[in-house]
Each structure stands twice: as structure tokens, then as C-alpha cells.
């Protein structure tokens, strides 16, 4: 298996949706190819860091204001009937 072929399968490999034979081939490649090992390992870390980052958390006060605004609009919509809004 070439590095470019490894790369094509990387997403399915990291997502764990790959058949046993391809997985074995990929892991054989990883056992000797340092570059692909590092790319695979650091791509996995990239995903984990973003997933655990709490980037763009919605602050509670803003959350409350947005919810009130949404509920008010929905109530007005309900009052106006199906053709209103």
C-alpha cells in the first residue's frame, strides 16, 4: 500500500467504519511508515482537541435571551394563526 492510498482510507479508518482486510493492510502500512503514523495520530488528536475544546459555547445569559425571543415569536405566530406571522 502506498502513502496516497493510506490517506484515502484515513477517514474511514479513524471513524472505525472499515472492513477487517483493509484495516489489516492499513495497520501493516502504519507499522513501518513513520510519516503516515504521525499524520494518522495527529489527525486523530486534531479531531479530539476540537471536539473537547468547548469552542463557541453559548453563555447562559445570552441563551436565556435567545430562548425568550424565540418563544415570543412562536407565541405571536400561534396567535396570528396558520396564515399569519
Amino acid at each position: 500500500m502506498k502513502c496516497s492510498e493510506f490517506l484515502q482510507e484515513l477517514t474511514d479508518y479513524l471513524d472505525g467504519v472499515i472492513d477487517a482486510n483493509t484495516k489489516a493492510e492499513l495497520e501493516e502500512h502504519l507499522s513501518w511508515c513513520h510519516n503516515c503514523y504521525v499524520v494518522c495520530d495527529t489527525t486523530k488528536k486534531t479531531i479530539e482537541i476540537y471536539r473537547d475544546s468547548h469552542l463557541y459555547e453559548l453563555p447562559e445569559d445570552l441563551r436565556g435571551r435567545l430562548r425568550s425571543a424565540i418563544v415570543s415569536k412562536c407565541q405571536a405566530r400561534k396567535k396570528a394563526g396558520p396564515e399569519g406571522a
Partner: protein
């Protein structure tokens, strides 16, 4: 090296009942759906628009549009996937309005140099995120994802941050499954490549990690 662990989703068993109640006019039931998903929708909106005010507008507009069109919701997909689809469209409209000079499309499929394995790949420090404070780390992650094309970061946030399946992402974005996979691979590789600048291992005497703890040198 094992696969990444997917984020466990919220239980959705009572969701259809909430949707039906909301459709029958129970705004309280709809409010419960807002509570359940507002954080996710805000995060997705901010990832796409890269703008806090726009993200706030998207949250309001997407939920209101969903409420107004509940009778269009077929129940064949999850409510959340349907809601995400509405929110992504609202967010892309905001982005187009803000950047009229650039075409913003989910069909954008950009070829980049990151598609090939570089010859020399620098390994990262064992716990790279711990080299920075929380605020610094957020700044790095924000700046890095900001540089991706909208089509890539949208797929990345739905799949890897929000934990939607490939099929759900394809449905929410109206893309084919191969298109989702292709964009996801490129998004992941580009982010990895750009983060390496901050996280790569430096073989210095004052390195915080113990000397000799790593056997592979770059």
C-alpha cells in the same frame, strides 16, 4: 491506533411526541426542543458564519422557521437533522450577505496541497494542548478553523464536533456521501497541518516533557 470515539447522542425517544405537541400548538413543547438543541445550533452557526451576532440571529431565525414549518417535517429523519439543515442554510445566507465578493457554496470542493502526505511530518508533543492556556488554545483553534473554506468547516463541525453520522451530515447538507467523506478528509488534514505549527514537538533542553520520552524524532 484505535478509531475515535463518537460523542454519545441525546436520547430522542420522546422527541416525536414533543414535535407533535408543538405542531398542535403547544409552544412549551417547542421550548423544550429549543433547550435541547440551542447550544448545538449556536455552535454550528458560529462555526459557519465566524461571527457572534450572525450566530445569534441564526439561532433565532432557524428555530422560528422550524416552528413555522413544523407541518413540513416528515418524521422520516430526526428532528435535529432537519433543524440543522435549516440552520446551515440560514448561516450560509448570512455568510453570503457578509462576503458578497466570495461565492459561498457547499458544493465548493477545493483542491489543496494538503491532499498529499508531506515528506517530512513533524510529530506533536505528547499533550500539545497543555502547552497553552484555555484562552490561548481557543484562539488558536478559532483562527485555524477560520482559515478553512466554508464547505470544509461545515462538514467538519457537523461530523467531528457535533457527532452527526456521515449519512445525517449528507442529509443535512444535501450532499452525497462520497462528497461528505471527501470534504471531511480534507478538512481534517488541513486542520492537522495548520495546527502542527503550534503543537509540533521541539527538541529543546527546556522542553516541558522529559528528555528522551519520545523515541521518534522529526
Amino acid at each position: 491506533m484505535g478509531a475515535i470515539q463518537p460523542r454519545v447522542g441525546e436520547p430522542v425517544s420522546d422527541e416525536l411526541a414533543l414535535v407533535q405537541a408543538a405542531r398542535a400548538g403547544d409552544v412549551g413543547a417547542f421550548e423544550e426542543l429549543v433547550r435541547r438543541y440551542d447550544r448545538n445550533i449556536f455552535r454550528i452557526a458560529q462555526h459557519i458564519t465566524q461571527n457572534r451576532e450572525d450566530a445569534e440571529d441564526v439561532v433565532q431565525d432557524a428555530f422560528f422557521k422550524a416552528y413555522s414549518n413544523l407541518n413540513q417535517f416528515q418524521g422520516q429523519s430526526k428532528f435535529y437533522t432537519w433543524l440543522v439543515r435549516i440552520a446551515v442554510n440560514e448561516a450560509l445566507m448570512k455568510l453570503r450577505r457578509r462576503r458578497p465578493e466570495r461565492t459561498v457554496s457547499l458544493d465548493e470542493d477545493v483542491k489543496t496541497e494538503d491532499d498529499t502526505v508531506p515528506r517530512e511530518v513533524a510529530d506533536w508533543s505528547p499533550n500539545p494542548e497543555q502547552q497553552y492556556t484555555q484562552a490561548e488554545l481557543r484562539e488558536i483553534l478559532d483562527r485555524t478553523i477560520h482559515g478553512l473554506p466554508a464547505s470544509f468547516r461545515t462538514v467538519f463541525v457537523l461530523r467531528d464536533v457535533e457527532g452527526l453520522s456521515t449519512e445525517e451530515t449528507a442529509e443535512a447538507l444535501d450532499l452525497s456521501i462520497p462528497a461528505v467523506k471527501s470534504r471531511l478528509l480534507r478538512a481534517r488534514l488541513q486542520l492537522r497541518s495548520r495546527l502542527s505549527k503550534y503543537f509540533q514537538r521541539h527538541e529543546k533542553a527546556n522542553e516541558r516533557q522529559k528528555p528522551g520520552s519520545g523515541d521518534h524524532q522529526s
